[in-house]
Symmetry: C2
Subunit: 199 residues, 2 copies
């Protein structure tokens, strides 16, 4: 039954359209502007049809979150692969992280926003751990040959993540700093932590 396949393909396309429409609406009017009826309008259906493709609104956000983590992991890998030395890799990866946050501002907001507590997220969304794993590995490599306990790596990782995520959060709502200042804060923080790792 080839027609079955065609139907399935159409359904998959509609599912995709729903996600695209959602992201478009959010980019135009922010997360508050996103509603089931507006999504339906955008894909030229009525609202209840969306529930054939997603359990509820949260499921749409979750899927966008998942796609966000996949894209971020891809960007991080690309950044890493452009260098050989772990220190250079780490720096490039955090700069890629920064770029991702503003290139895909809406995705970043839903990924690290206040939707779901991250403890559950790791269970529901295994993809959410990919970016952390990628960076974690490079930190371990940088600490060679004296890799400390997991706790020590954890502290390094969270110090990095905090300063970058903090700077991103502040700039997301603020836009108070010049790009030069931000780059300065970023680079000094990154090189500072890297230096402290290498001892």
């Amino acid at each position: 039954m080839a027609s079955k396949d065609r139907i399935l393909r159409l359904k998959e396309e509609t599912r995709c359209n729903i996600l695209d429409a959602s992201l478009k609406i959010v980019k135009e009017g922010g997360w508050d502007a996103l509603s089931m009826r507006k999504i339906a309008d955008e894909i030229e259906y009525t609202a209840p049809i969306i529930y054939e493709y997603f359990a509820n609104k949260d499921a749409i956000l979750m899927e966008l979150t998942r796609k966000g983590f996949l894209l971020l992991a891809k960007k991080l890998e690309e950044a890493r692969n452009r260098h050989r030395a772990p220190a250079k890799q780490l720096e490039a990866m955090w700069l890629a992280y920064w770029d991702f946050a503003f290139a895909e501002r809406e995705l970043y907001q839903v990924m690290y926003g206040v939707r779901v507590s991250c403890c559950e997220m790791a269970k529901i969304l295994p993809e959410s751990e990919r970016p952390m794993d990628l960076i974690w590995d490079v930190i371990v490599e940088l600490m060679l040959p004296h890799v400390g306990t997991e706790e020590e790596v954890c502290i390094k990782y969270y110090t990095f993540w905090s300063v970058i995520h903090g700077l991103i959060s502040i700039n997301m709502v603020n836009r108070g700093n010049t790009d030069e200042t931000n780059q300065e804060v970023l680079k000094t923080a990154i090189t500072g932590i890297i230096r402290s790792i290498k001892g």
Copy 2:
């Protein structure tokens, strides 16, 4: 007319009750649970009466934000006054900042959440600049006698703020780290930046 005074006092009290009720509802059910009708229920009135005291829901959030900044500034001052040396003062102030964020988690969320872009906030809420000013001054003192340009102080300030705000944001939704890890990240970051300031 003493009765006028009594009326005014009652009005002021109701205004205060609205804010208290709001915070209570948020503490019990999160920011999503806050609605005008629930506030009205809590103060044993109906919803429209709230508009006699606040222009709209945002005005209530703004007032809570204002109170948050005042309280934070108070905590920072107290922390500073417990020490003499600028380095010790700075460390104590950031630890106080951290404590405030979790002791008054809901206030912190509305203060540094995604409600209003901070550029406007400084105009509408002058109080929002107090905490930054307090910390800024200590940073300048710490840099003595070679105080750099405003840009340089700015970079120091934002580096501090980013790492602490980042760590707070992550832990607000995450609770993935142990308290010991968090304290470790905090202290190493703070002393690291302080050391880099003192050169």
